[in-house]
Symmetry: C3
Subunit: 520 residues, 3 copies
C-alpha cells in the first residue's frame, strides 16, 4: 500500500521516535543526537538499531497499532535491550539470532505490560526492557556461542572513523578533564541511560536535553543533586553513583514526575526531592537482591518509583493541584505546563473542544437492542444512532431491505475539525438481520481532532466516503453516508470518541456539546 | 441427591478428564492411557490420583462450579503436583497428610489464577502446579518426616505385577534400544510431562497423542525439532534436553499455540518455530534463577510463553487471521480447524445460532429501576423483562400482590434448542418490594445450546418449571412461568446468555435474532 | 479549618486506630494497651509512633480519604514498619530520616495494594509493611550510618521508668516462669505481632484480645494449637515456633478467617484447622527462599493464606453459608456473628435499610445525554435526575439560563436517616452548556446512613445547603436545592449510594425502595 518513500519515512519516524521516547520527547533532532551518541560504541549502537528495527518490523507485520509504532512506543524498549546486549557480547551470527529473538520477546513483554498497566492508567516505561535483558543475560550464560564483549574497544576507532583525529582528541580530553566529581558523575549518569559511560556522551545528551526542554534539564540537575546529597548524608555507597552511574534513575524519575506526567511547579520539584530517599532505598535494596544472581538493577528504581508515585497521586480527593497531573500529553514539560495552565483556565468556566453530533436533524439513540450487545466494557462511551418515525419504528414497509430504514444513506458529518486518520470503504452492506463478524466495524472513518481526541464513525455505506486519508475536514462537513456494513444487523450510525486512532480503541468519556437531547 | 452410580460416574469423568486435560484433550481413552502411564511408578501414580481426587472432592464440597470439576479443570494441576511429590518422597502417613494439604493449596491457587487471568481472557495452564510444587518442595526440606524418594525402585515391580515378565522385558528393551538420541529424547521428553523419564512411557504417550490428534502429534515433533536445532545452533546446554527432558516445554507450547488456542495453519506452525528461541531463553534464564534454591523450572517456560503469545495476539488490529484464535474450544486441533473454518465461512454473511426471546408477545425491557442495580459489571449482557400497560405501568391495582403484576405467571419459553443443564425450583416468590438475598437468582433454568452457549432464565415462579434436568427442549417450548423469586422486588423475567453453566457466570455478548424491538 | 482541639482529636483517633487495626479491631482501649506494649522497647515504640504519625500526616497533606486516615487504614502498616526498623537500628538523625522516608514509601505501597486488591474485593492486610521493611532492611545494609540495634537494652530501663521496680520484678519473673513451652510460646507469639518477644507483652496482648473479643481469643488459641500439633506431627522445625515466634501467623490467620472476614461458626473453626498445613508450608517454603538474602518472612504466610482463602471462597456457587462471609464489617467477631445472623434472617424475607429517592414528586432519570458520559465504570450505580415536561423537555423557553430548567432550585431531600458526613457548598453554578472540570462534583452533600452505606447528592445549587457537617438528618428532610455546579452542563441532581465517604467513591449496588418508577 505504501510507496517506498512512504515506507522509508515511516521507518525513519518510528526509529527516531524510539530513541527520543527514552527521554519522554518527540523532538526528532534530539532523537538523531541520541542515535549518534548510541553509536559511540559502534557494535552496541548497531545492536540497538537492529533490535528496534526488528521490534518495529514485527509490530508492523503482526498488525499492531500503526500510530503506536510510529510514535516509537513499541521500539524504545527493544532499543535499550539491544544496546545493553550489544555492549555485553561480541558480535557474530549467533549473537544476532539471539538479538532478534530478544527483540521479539521484548515486544511481547511490552504488550503484556501495556495491557496490564493500562487498566490502571499507568505507563509501562522501561519495564519490558528490564525483564527482557535480565532473562537474555541469564540465558546467555548457558549459550556457549555468546562471548562476553570487550566494551570500549570499538569506541575510539568508531569515533576516529566518524569524526577524525580532532574528535578523538576532544573525546580523550573529556576523559581526563578535572571537573568536580559531582559534575563528571552527572554527565556520565546521563550517558549511562544510553549505556555510554563517558563524559562526552553525557555532555552531548545534556546539550540535547537542554535544547529539548529547559525544565527537563533543570529537573535532571535537581534530581541528581538531591540524590548526591542523600547519598552523602545517609552514608550510602557513593560508588553506586560514581562508578555505577545508577544516578540516572534519579534523573529520569525527576523528569518524569517533575514535568512530564505532572505539570511542572514548585510542588512537582518538592516531590522530586521528597522521593529521593525512596529511589535510593529501592536501588540499594534491589542491588542486594539482584546481586545474588549478578544482575544490575538498571532502571528498575526509576520504574518502580514513577509507578508508585503516579498511582498514589490518583488517590487524592483533595489537593489535586499539588501537583496537577498532565491531562493531555504534549511530550514536553514546557508545553505540558503552558497548555495545561491555559486549559485549566479554559476548563474552569468553559467546556471541552466542541464536538457535535455527526448528522443533521433528529436521530434516536438506539439502545433497545444492539446497545445491549456491543457497547459494553471498553466500548461503552459510544452511541448508535438511527432515525425513527413517530411510532418509534426504524423503517417503513417490511424492514427487509436496507433502503427501508430511514437512516440508510443519510449524510454523516464530521463532528469537529480534524484530519482524516484512517478510512475503510470497501465492505459490503449487510442485508437486514445479517452481520459480518469478520469485519466488525465495517466501513469506518477515524478523524483526529487533537493529540488525544479521535472520533470514529462506523458501519458506513460502502463506497460512500467522500474524504481521503490525511485530508482536513471541517465540523459539519458531509463525509459519508449511513450504512449497514460490519457487525450491524440493521442500518445505523456508530459514533464514538476515543483517545487513540486504534480501530478497536476504548472509548472516551467526552461531552458532546451543541445539541439538544429529546427524551421520550 | 446423586444415586451411587451417578456419583461414581461423576468421579470417573472428573478423574479421566483431569489426566487428559494436561494435553488439552477431552478424549477419555487418551485419559485412561495417561493414567496407566502415570502408574509405571506406582507410588507416584497413586500420589497423583489421590491428589486429584482430593482436589476434585474439595471442589465439590466447597460448592465450586460442577461442570468445571467434571471437565477436569480443577483436577489436573493437583494431579501434576501429586505426581511430582510422589516421585520425590517416600510414602508414609505424614507424606499423605502433606499431599492432601498440597492438593487443597493447589486448588486455592488454581482459583486465584483463574480469577486473575480470566480478567485478561487467558488460561491458567499449569501455573498453579508450579507454585504449589515449589512451595511444597521448599517446605518439605524443613519437615524431618519427608524422606527423599528413590524414584524407579517400584517401577519394575509394578510393571511386573501388572503386565507380567513379557512387559518387563519390553520395558527393559526400550531402555537399551539404540535409536538416535533425537528420537529417544523426544519420547523421554513426552514421558517427562507425566514425570516418567522412560522411553516406553513416552512411546505410549506419543501413540495416544497420535490417536487423539495427528495435528497435535505433528506440532509436538515440529516444536521439539525446532528446539533441538536452536540448542545446537546457539551452543546451549544439550543436557537440558538430553537429561533434563525440559524439551517438553517446547512440545506443549507447540500444541498450545499451534493448534489448540490458535487454529492450525501455516502461520501457526511458523510461530511455533519463531518462539523457540524465546522458550529456550526463558528455560535457561529461569534455570539460573531457580538453581539458586535448587528448584527445577518444570513447565514454567511453557506457561510464560503461551501466556505472552496469546496476550500479544490480542493486540493485533490487522492480520487477525495469521493465525486465527480459536473462538469455540473443541478440545481437538482437528475440530478447532474444521469447525473454525466452517463457522468462519458462515459468520461472514450469516448470523449466530438463532436465539429468540423467551416469551410470547410484547414485553418491555425494564431498565427504569432494577437495571440500575444488578445488571452491572459481569452481568451486563442481561435483560429484565416485564409486561407494561399503555400507561407504562407494570401492574394493575395497587401492585401489592405479585398477581397484580401483568407478567406474573406468564409462560416462559426456551430461547433456542438445547439441553436443560440445571434447575432450581423450590424458592418462594417474594411479596412485592421484598427480596431474597440468600438466593439471588431465585428459581432458575439453565439451558445448554452449544459447548459455549448457555441461556439462563431466572426469578421464575416457584413450582412452575415444566422440564427436567437433562431433557432436551425446543425453541419456543413453554418451560416455566414468570415469577418473583430471589433478588427480585417485583415480578420480572431475567434472561441472559452466557458461555458457562455457572449460576453466577458472566454474561455473553450475543445478538438475539428474530424479534422486533419497539422503542417508545 | 479544624480548631486545635478537633485536630488533636483526629490525631488521637487515627493513631489509636492504627494500633488496634493490626488486630482487626476498632476498640480504643485495646489500641491504647497495644501502644503501651509497643513502648516496652522504648526506641522501637517511638519509631513505630513516629512512622505512623508521618504516614497519617502525609496522607492528610496529600488529600487522601479522611475517613480511611481516621480509621487507621493508612497508618497501621507504617506503624509496623517503624516498630521493625526501630528494633533493628540504633536511633540517630540519619535513622529518623530513613524512618520518615520509609513511612512515605509504606504509604505509597499501601495505596498501590489498595488499588490492586480492591479490584478483587480483597484487603491489603500487612503486605505494604512487608514490602517496605524488606526493601528498607536490604537498603540499610548499604548505608554506613545505619547501626544494628541492640534490641532489649532499653527495655528494662523503660519499664523501670514507667512502672517502677515492682513492674520490673513482674516483668523479670515472667521471663523465668516455668510454664509449659506451649503456653509460653503462645504468649510470645502474640507479643511478636508487635515485635515484643517477651512473655509479659504477649500476656498483656492476650488480655486485651480477650477483652476485645472472646471469639477472637478462642480463635487465636485454636489456630496456635493446630499449628503446634501439625509441627509435631510433620517433624517441622519447632524453632520456628519456639524461637522464631512465627506462630503469630497462625494466630492472625485464625482470627481473620475464623471470625473477622467470615462469620464465626463451626465451619469457620474447621477451616482454621484445615489451612494450618498450608500456612506452615508457606512459612517453611518462604523461609528457605528469603533465607538466601537473610530476610525474615514476618507476616507473609498470614497475608498469602488469608488472601488465597478469601478469594477461593468467592468462587463458591453453593455452600455459601459454610462459612458465610461478613457482609458489613463491625470490627468485632461477636458483632459480625450476631448482626450477620440477624441480617441474614432479615434479608431472607425483607429488604435493605429503606432508602428513598432524594426529592418530591416525579423526576426523570436522565440518561439521554449525560448518562452516557459520566455514569460509567466505577460510577455506574448512580442516577441523574431532572424534571421533564410532557414533551420530554427539561426546560421552558430557550434553556439558556439555569432558571429555565424545571429542576433548578427544587428541594433535595435526605434519602434516609443519617449523619451529614461532608459538605461542599461554595462552587458557582455553571451557565447552561458549560462545565467546571476543576470541581467535578460541584456542591455536594454526603450522608452516612450506616457503617458501609453513604449517599451522595451532587451538583447542588451554590449556597443552598441547609444542614451542617455532623448533623443528623431525617429521611425526607429538605437539605439543599438542585443546581448546576461542577461537571454539570445542565441543572440536574446526581444521586448515588456508596460504601465509603470518598467524594470519588465507587457506587454501591443498592435497591431504592418505596418509589414507583414510571417508564415511558
Amino acid at each position: 500500500m505504501s510507496e517506498p518513500a512512504g515506507l522509508l519515512s515511516k521507518v525513519y519516524t518510528s526509529t527516531v521516535n524510539s530513541y527520543t521516547m527514552v527521554f519522554f520527547s518527540k523532538n526528532p533532532w534530539f532523537g538523531l543526537l541520541l542515535m549518534v551518541v548510541s553509536f559511540f560504541d559502534v557494535y552496541a549502537g548497531a545492536a540497538g538499531l537492529l533490535s528496534l528495527l526488528t521490534a518495529n518490523g514485527l509490530a508492523w507485520g503482526l498488525g499492531l497499532n500503526r500510530r503506536n509504532i510510529l510514535s516509537g512506543f513499541y521500539g524504545f524498549n527493544s532499543l535499550l535491550t539491544g544496546l545493553g546486549l550489544g555492549l555485553s557480547f561480541q558480535p557474530g551470527p549467533e549473537f544476532y539470532l539471539l538479538l532478534v529473538a530478544t527483540a521479539l520477546a521484548t515486544l511481547f513483554i511490552t504488550l503484556a505490560f501495556e495491557g496490564l498497566l493500562s487498566k490502571y492508567a499507568l505507563p509501562y516505561l522501561t519495564l519490558p526492557f528490564l525483564i527482557a535483558i535480565w532473562i537474555a543475560t541469564l540465558a546467555a550464560r548457558n549459550y556457549s556461542t555468546m562471548i562476553p564483549g570487550e566494551s570500549g574497544i570499538y569506541t575510539l576507532s568508531t569515533i576516529y572513523e566518524r569524526g577524525g583525529p580532532l574528535v578523538v582528541r576532544i573525546y580523550e580530553w573529556f576523559g581526563d578533564v578535572s571537573w568536580p566529581l559531582f559534575i563528571k558523575t552527572y554527565f556520565k549518569s546521563l550517558g549511562a541511560i544510553f549505556f555510554q559511560y563517558h563524559l562526552f556522551a553525557g555532555l552531548l545528551i545534556a546539550a540535547g536535553l537542554l535544547f529539548y526542554s529547559r525544565i527537563a534539564f533543570l529537573l535532571s540537575v535537581t534530581g541528581f543533586a538531591s540524590a548526591w546529597g542523600f547519598y552523602l548524608l545517609i552514608g550510602a555507597n557513593m560508588n553506586e553513583l560514581n562508578y555505577g552511574f545508577i544516578g540516572f534513575n534519579h534523573i529520569l524519575t525527576a523528569i518524569a514526575i517533575g514535568g512530564f506526567f505532572m505539570i511542572a511547579s514548585g510542588w512537582s520539584f518538592l516531590w522530586v526531592i521528597l522521593v529521593t530517599p525512596i529511589i535510593s532505598m529501592i536501588t540499594a535494596g534491589f542491588a542486594e537482591l539482584l546481586g545474588i544472581i549478578q544482575l544490575p538493577v538498571y532502571s528498575l528504581p526509576f520504574n518502580l518509583m514513577v509507578l508508585l508515585f503516579l498511582y498514589a497521586m490518583k488517590f487524592r480527593e483533595k489537593m489535586q493541584m499539588k501537583p496537577e497531573p498532565v491531562a493531555v500529553q504534549h511530550y514536553s514539560p514546557e508545553l505540558n505546563l503552558y497548555i495545561g495552565q491555559n486549559s485549566g483556565e479554559r476548563f474552569r468556566n468553559k467546556s471541552y473542544l466542541p464536538v457535535s453530533l455527526p448528522f443533521f436533524g433528529v436521530w434516536t439513540v438506539n439502545q433497545g437492542h444492539n446497545g445491549e450487545f456491543t457497547h459494553q466494557e471498553e466500548w461503552r462511551h459510544a452511541w448508535d444512532f438511527v432515525i425513527t418515525d413517530e411510532a418509534g419504528k426504524e423503517f417503513s414497509g417490511e424492514g427487509a431491505k436496507v433502503s427501508d430504514y430511514y437512516c440508510f444513506d443519510k449524510p454523516v458529518t464530521a463532528p469537529a475539525n480534524g484530519w482524516v486518520e484512517e478510512i475503510v470503504d470497501s465492505i459490503d452492506d449487510n442485508p437486514p438481520g445479517e452481520i459480518n463478524l469478520g469485519r466488525n466495524w465495517g466501513n469506518t472513518i477515524i478523524i483526529r481532532h487533537s493529540e488525544r481526541l479521535y472520533s470514529k464513525l462506523s458501519h458506513l455505506k460502502k463506497g460512500s466516503i467522500k474524504v481521503k486519508q490525511g485530508s482536513y475536514v471541517h465540523q459539519g462537513q458531509v463525509i459519508a453516508s449511513c450504512g449497514n456494513s460490519g457487525r450491524s444487523p440493521y442500518p445505523h450510525l456508530h459514533f464514538q470518541l476515543q483517545s487513540t486512532p486504534h480501530i478497536g480503541s476504548a472509548t472516551l468519556n467526552y461531552p458532546v456539546s451543541q445539541y439538544l437531547s429529546y427524551q421520550e
